[in-house]
Symmetry: C2
Subunit: 262 residues, 2 copies
Amino acid sequence: MAVAYERIADELRAAIRAGELKPGDKLPAESKLAERFRRSVPTIREALRALRDEGLIEKQHGRGNFVRRPRTPALRSNLRHQWEKGRAREPLTERARTGATEHDTGLTVGDLVFHASYRTIEAHRDLAEAFGLPEGTTLLERTYRTRYAAESAPFSLVTSYLVHDLIARNPALLDEANEPWPGGSQSQLYSVGIELDRVEERVTARPPTPEEAAELELPPGTSVLALRKTSIDLDDRVVDVSDVVLPGDRTELLFTTPLERW
Amino acid sequence: MAVAYERIADELRAAIRAGELKPGDKLPAESKLAERFRRSVPTIREALRALRDEGLIEKQHGRGNFVRRPRTPALRSNLRHQWEKGRAREPLTERARTGATEHDTGLTVGDLVFHASYRTIEAHRDLAEAFGLPEGTTLLERTYRTRYAAESAPFSLVTSYLVHDLIARNPALLDEANEPWPGGSQSQLYSVGIELDRVEERVTARPPTPEEAAELELPPGTSVLALRKTSIDLDDRVVDVSDVVLPGDRTELLFTTPLERW
DNA sequence: GAGTGGTCTAGACCACTGT
DNA sequence: CAGTGGTCTAGACCACTCC
């Protein structure tokens, strides 16, 4: 114990928690801290790295080290699924007005930039299990990015899988040029006669891969929420599996569980 | 670009992803890697740190660097809330048989070790907002730890808040010596005439604080799930607010959203 | 150009693991 | 004891930001 960089990190952490250093404040230069604590610069940097890994500070090359501001999180509620289900059978003009993300965020369609790309793949083991189908089943893989028009980073990375044979009845569903499909996935499934019974979402947290960190513009010292959404129809078939990666520091998932009366 | 430690990390990462280095495998010693890549040891360590921060490898002092094995996650389903509600009014003997965690995990009561401590506090702003009550309202703060008998680290850190005046009618609720209360929180609330209408859970992900990392025995390069559970009764009152911290690498949250029929 | 953080070196010494 | 990772030094040079 009593390792130098830990003592330094403890002291700075205490100052931040006590509010002596407020969000947005600049820390003294690394060379100044080295003088103050009578340690070499690399040792100071070790302490600062620990604080960065906790999400407490942010390093800005050429500018300094700053106390990080907590992010205001975007909300994603599971009520969106019921809302989307109600939307799915509405006339096109109504559906086109706004989507589930707009419903969650209170934004309008013009605030968001949307991109999708499709390809067909064969189910590997993980996906085959999720669908309850044999390995090698043909799937349609759809990759989605949505971002605020004013920001460069998308707020989620979505990969959705559909069983090719289930949706091939409506060829429009196989063409990415038809995205964004007004009314969302449930409307697409409705066009081939599928109605959802329930949605299951599995949530875990982990550090981002370098690819995810780059695409979501995540600073070091942040986590992602990994969400696997499984949509199940009235016949208990899994009709859609979606993997969603969300930045942990700017996303809040809200799940409401209604309870039956006594 | 083309920074030395990034190239080295990329090469090792590719080897792990390709399966050339399998989970549990030992990497070459840092000094060997330094020779192989013709770089100094600190540079190698920088690359290894990046891989550790991604959760790909694990450092073991005096032994070596190892490819990390994926953890098998414990499941926590929101169906537990309805299950607990049904349980709350059962006779004591029935309630004592098993709790919600046992329901989720399939374990029996003897597999788990439980600890609780109580104290009264005054609501600060964050909590007052969550309850929709004035700041300074007296709350009962309950801190819970549950762990597998065979493991030393708890699998969750739970802090629950109840409005003191709402539950004071039953003095047994104010004494931590009565924990674990058979049937859980909903049974406790039932003893003062409260029935829940719904449960709301807000989920975010972030790196652990050093205190959380120590208590949950989290290795560096892991994230936690931070869950705030709000219990709302039939009169739309918030009757319980619980903050739950779960290790991201060994927890999976499952939320099922049933949908109304067309 | 001054100030600041980013990368890297070459090596010392300590602490832990296993034989 | 040998092997390995953990901490730390003192300094060089590069890259970015801002005046």
